[in-house]
């Protein structure tokens, strides 16, 4: 029916690279997003204004252009500093760019989620004698997480789709593997369609995970 002419395994290798890239960006991007959200809620007016303005500006630039800026910009930077003929790996370029995109997009989500936790909860934590870090990890974050999850699900889906852009830098993830297969076998439609369904499968597979996470994080909340 569908003849991949021996390139099927290569597509699966590509899926593994895509997932590796996506998970690395997810971790880095969410950490960055929390930091940016913290800066947006800071008492320092300058920091707050600057971070808000910069994240808004970055959100107006196409992800693809950010990827190219990160990749070529950082390569040029490495060259300027070391004068060595070094090049940034496409994977690292992808991680930088997509984490930046996810960080900027999720900072607004996190800000809203952190603000959604009633202030009394935090005061209660302090009254118990918890240190600020403790209050954050035990009280603030678990409750903010619940509010943030649905929107993080969206951001994760966008992230997974955006990993396909890194193929332009030559990273052999799913998209690039499909590209290679398409060129060698001269059956582009077959390869891109199969790759498209693999992306669809990855996204469909992550939906139940998010639903389970949502159930888990709202276990302490009464359902109406």
């Amino acid at each position: 029916m569908i003849d991949l002419q021996g390139y099927g395994w290569q597509l699966l290798v590509g899926v593994a690279v895509t997932l590796e890239l996506a998970f690395t960006c997810l971790v880095c991007g969410l950490l960055l997003g929390m930091l940016l959200a913290g800066a947006k809620m800071s008492r320092n007016v300058v920091l707050r204004r600057v971070v808000t303005a910069v994240t808004n500006l970055i959100r107006g630039i196409p992800e693809f252009v950010i990827l190219l800026i990160c990749y070529f910009g950082l390569t040029n930077l490495i060259y300027m500093v070391t004068k060595a003929d070094a090049q940034l790996s496409p994977f690292a370029g992808g991680v930088f760019a997509l984490s930046l995109v996810l960080g900027c997009n999720s900072s607004e989500t996190f800000r809203g989620a952190f603000l959604a936790v009633p202030h009394g909860q935090i005061e209660a934590g302090r009254a118990f004698g918890m240190r600020p870090g403790h209050v954050f990890l035990r009280i603030h974050l678990p409750q903010a997480w619940r509010v943030a999850l649905p929107s993080l699900n969206n951001l994760w889906q966008n992230l997974l789709k955006d990993t396909s852009l890194v193929s332009v830098l030559g990273l052999q993830e799913l998209m690039e593997k499909a590209n290679i297969g398409a060129q060698v076998t001269r059956a582009p439609f077959t390869f891109f369609l199969v790759a498209a369904f693999l992306y669809l499968l990855l996204l469909a597979g992550s939906t139940p995970v998010f639903h389970a996470l949502e159930r888990f994080s709202s276990r302490g909340v009464l359902r109406r």
Binding site: F72, L165, P188
Partner: protein
């Protein structure tokens, strides 16, 4: 003044102007086409017929669940795999990058827009539908006079978002050789090894985003002016 003209020639000012115009053109045409296409898709999603509903659902799942880059490649590179298409009249269009990019961008945006339209239709207060029925309007007339005008006003903020996303999506047209804003910047980077052209392109995208959001803000204030309570 001298530095400015040096900047203009060093960074291919005319190229950037042409690229910006092509980007605007891609956004404008694909947004209008997607807008037209999204209404039947949304109505199909809300239809009583299970067949129509599932067709619309599969369309949305495919175009929302796969990367736009793959959709562009499927249309530009993929369709050439079929001999009957290569020998048909349609090939006059499908062998060029520009129509392929437009088709991919339109089909992609229509899938997202259909969800927005569907949400807008569902958000029209039930009492207004009832009022239309009570006055004796047929379903089609109620849609035309009451439900759709209300729905489109309700969905303006979401529409503005989608147009900004579409602007960002057009950057991918450069992967199939179109010389829009990103394409121009990439060509300059390949020649000069400098990152500056990409930064210039980024700045132009920010300006365009700003214009779109401002434009929609203005339209929203104007179309919903009967809602404002003084």
């Amino acid at each position: 003044m001298n530095t400015l003209s040096a900047f203009w020639t060093n960074y291919d000012g005319p190229g950037f102007i042409a690229g910006t115009l092509l980007t605007i053109q891609l956004v404008a045409i694909s947004v209008v086409a997607a807008f037209v296409l999204s209404l039947p898709l949304a109505l199909a999603r809300l239809s009583h017929s299970a067949v129509l509903r599932s067709v619309a659902f599969c369309y949305a799942a495919f175009f929302r669940g796969t990367p736009l880059l793959i959709q562009i490649f499927l249309i530009y590179y993929g369709l050439g795999q079929f001999a009957f298409l290569r020998h048909s009249f349609a090939w006059v269009f499908l062998r060029d990058a520009y129509p392929c990019a437009l088709i991919a961008l339109t089909l992609n945006m229509a899938a997202y827009l259909a969800e927005v339209v569907r949400g807008g239709i569902l958000a029209v207060p039930h009492g207004e539908r009832e009022a239309a029925t009570a006055i004796g309007m047929s379903r089609a007339l109620a849609y035309r006079r009451i439900i759709l005008p209300r729905a489109y006003r309700l969905m303006l903020p979401a529409l503005s978002n989608e147009v900004v996303i579409q602007l960002k999506s057009t950057a991918l047209a450069s992967t199939i050789t179109l010389m829009e804003l990103t394409g121009v910047a990439r060509r300059l980077v390949a020649v000069s090894y400098s990152t500056n052209p990409l930064l210039i392109a980024g700045a132009i995208y920010i300006v365009l985003t700003f214009i779109i959001t401002r434009g929609f803000g203005f339209a929203e204030a104007r179309l919903n002016r009967h809602m404002i309570r003084s």
